[in-house]
């Protein structure tokens, strides 16, 4: 049991490891994929499982992608939870960061292993999986899945803001350019605006190139209380702001062109971190852009530019100026459930100064975003500082 630290305690991310993200890791089970990164964070910190070491794990996985109920039961061997505590977050891994931090802030544990995995390649169709996220009576029979939901969001957003297809293509072009500087990124082949615009249409206006690719991978992190962080690393990255918010389950009840839940999630995180002017508060910004239109849309929701000004933000080079998604972002490939967790991982790497050719020099504060559910129903915002 952790020592009581009361309100105002801080939580550090002390280690991060990611697999390379790939379209089909057919050589390994998801357990083997996860062990690769768990072993790395154990080595980075010198920690072992058990009393005085890692006493708790928070895991991130999706039962339907894993094709088994309570699928975290299948990974207890790998995350040290055989005969120990483990809790699963069945939402984007940024929520796992939230949960692990809360575990420490609430004095339950001093050190938590956070481990997420997904093999999207395991299913013949991701759309069959995300179709099951909808209710069986009202929306499933009409054929909704996450792509169709995102297309409705894109239609609404582009109609309101005037963001064009060509601008979305440029978002993809830029994602690929930066992905080439990120050793774990999946989609690194250069693409031109014309090529992106010629990709097959999935659900108008979303083309294949505008959607994150089928992706397999795993991420692990070690989170620790301020008292223990110094033992584990000389470069802790502090979580200084956290916020999340759900929007309605039913798409028709939402303003799909807007950012109801993201604005509220960001407000909570910014207040906690003392961020008053988000446009210039961050040297590093990582947005979980599952689809290209979500990069400007969520930039609005995160108050990186004024509401409804996403088209101007893109035209003025906002993503480049504000160092958005130098990892390549989610368009470069992460499994759906790890999109936000990979954004946090990149923020940590940048704040530790370990980002190599994509490093933002002197980065002090980073913003990481994750989204869960159809058209970003649940939004999660994390502010990190070194």
């Amino acid at each position: 049991m952790a020592k009581h630290r009361g309100a105002g305690g801080r939580v550090a991310i002390c280690a991060v490891a990611q697999t390379k993200f790939e379209r089909d890791k057919w050589q390994v089970r998801f357990q083997g994929m996860l062990w690769e990164v768990v072993e790395k964070v154990l080595r980075q910190t010198g920690l072992q499982f058990g009393a005085g070491g890692i006493e708790a794990a928070v895991t991130v996985s999706d039962d339907v992608f894993d094709a088994r109920t309570i699928s975290d039961g299948a990974i207890t061997d790998v995350v040290g939870a055989h005969h120990q505590s483990e809790e699963k977050v069945a939402a984007d891994g940024a929520q796992g960061v939230y949960y692990a931090a809360a575990t420490i802030l609430s004095n339950h544990h001093d050190i938590v292993l956070l481990a997420g995995h997904c093999k999207e390649s395991q299913s013949a169709s991701r759309n069959q999986i995300t179709h099951l996220a909808f209710d069986p009576f009202y929306t499933r029979p009409v054929g909704l899945d996450y792509v169709a939901a995102a297309a409705l969001q894109a239609q609404a957003y582009m109609a309101r803001t005037g963001v064009t297809e060509a601008q979305l293509a440029d978002v993809v072009v830029r994602s690929r350019k930066w992905a080439r500087e990120n050793p774990v990124a999946q989609e690194t082949a250069a693409v031109t605006r014309e090529q992106a615009l010629a990709a097959p249409m999935l659900a108008a206006p979303i083309r294949q190139s505008f959607m994150y690719p089928v992706s397999d991978g795993a991420i692990a992190m070690i989170l620790a209380s301020e008292e223990r962080a110094a033992e584990l690393t000389d470069r802790p990255v502090w979580i200084t702001g956290l916020g999340n918010c759900y929007d309605s389950f039913f798409l028709g009840e939402r303003d799909l062109a807007g950012n109801f839940s993201l604005e509220r999630a960001a407000k909570k995180a910014y207040e906690m971190a003392g961020v008053t002017h988000p446009t210039d508060a961050f040297e590093v910004v990582e947005i979980a852009d599952q689809y290209a239109h979500q990069q400007p849309q969520y930039a609005e929701g995160l108050a990186l530019c004024p509401a409804r000004q996403g088209a101007k933000w893109l035209a003025d080079g906002g993503p480049e100026k504000q160092h958005v998604n130098r990892s390549g972002g989610m368009l470069a490939g992460n499994p759906l459930i790890l999109g936000g967790m990979a954004r946090v991982a990149e923020a940590v790497i940048q704040l530790r100064g370990e980002a190599g050719s994509r490093q933002v020099p002197g980065a002090k504060r980073a913003l990481a975003h994750g989204a869960t559910g159809p058209a970003g129903q649940l939004q999660t915002v994390v502010v990190l500082e070194n």
Binding site: Q27, R29, Q122
Partner: protein, 160 residues
């Protein structure tokens, strides 16, 4: 389909079958276990280099020591029943939809040379249910046609 309680409104119930095509990697560890069943009719377990415990089914990491279990040893094919259960309801095979004849016997058998708790789980061929008991000596019987699945083991047979 509808349900109507007498005097009440009709309460509609929707019947659906969820079907998702999947393909599971077995990886180098579980994959070797299945390959050995198929090609060599051998029960291979991996062994923790730290605690010496076998893992069956073999997994990447020793669940107790959190180190890679890289050594391999053949277990059985004879062993002793640890626990068993007699099943009286028909349980359909999810892939074929075929049901087994009931009653049938499921059992854990600790194979000879196993270190630690790592029994093999399979059906027991037991024409006479009154003979089934804990500690009964059994032997693994392999299927004629094998395809790298647990069906490569036909069942345990009782050693008379």
């Amino acid at each position: 389909m509808s349900n109507k309680k007498e005097g009440g409104p009709e309460l509609i119930v929707s019947r659906q079958i969820l079907s998702i095509a999947q393909r599971f990697s077995t990886g180098p560890v579980m994959g070797r276990f299945l390959r050995e069943l198929r090609d060599n009719k051998r029960i291979m377990a991996n062994k923790c280099p730290k605690c010496g415990r076998h893992q069956l089914p073999p997994r990447e990491v020793c669940a107790l020591c959190s180190v890679e279990a890289t050594e391999w040893e053949e277990l059985g094919p004879e062993g002793a029943i640890r626990d068993y259960d007699i099943v009286y309801y028909s349980s359909p095979d999810p892939l074929t939809g075929e049901t087994r004849e009931t009653p049938y016997v499921l059992c854990w058998a600790q194979l000879d040379r196993t270190q630690g708790d790592a029994p093999l789980w399979h059906l027991l061929n037991a024409p006479d249910l009154s003979k089934v008991r804990r500690g009964l000596r059994v032997r693994v019987v392999f299927s004629e046609e094998r395809d790298g699945t647990m069906g490569d083991i036909k069942y345990f047979e009782i050693i008379e």
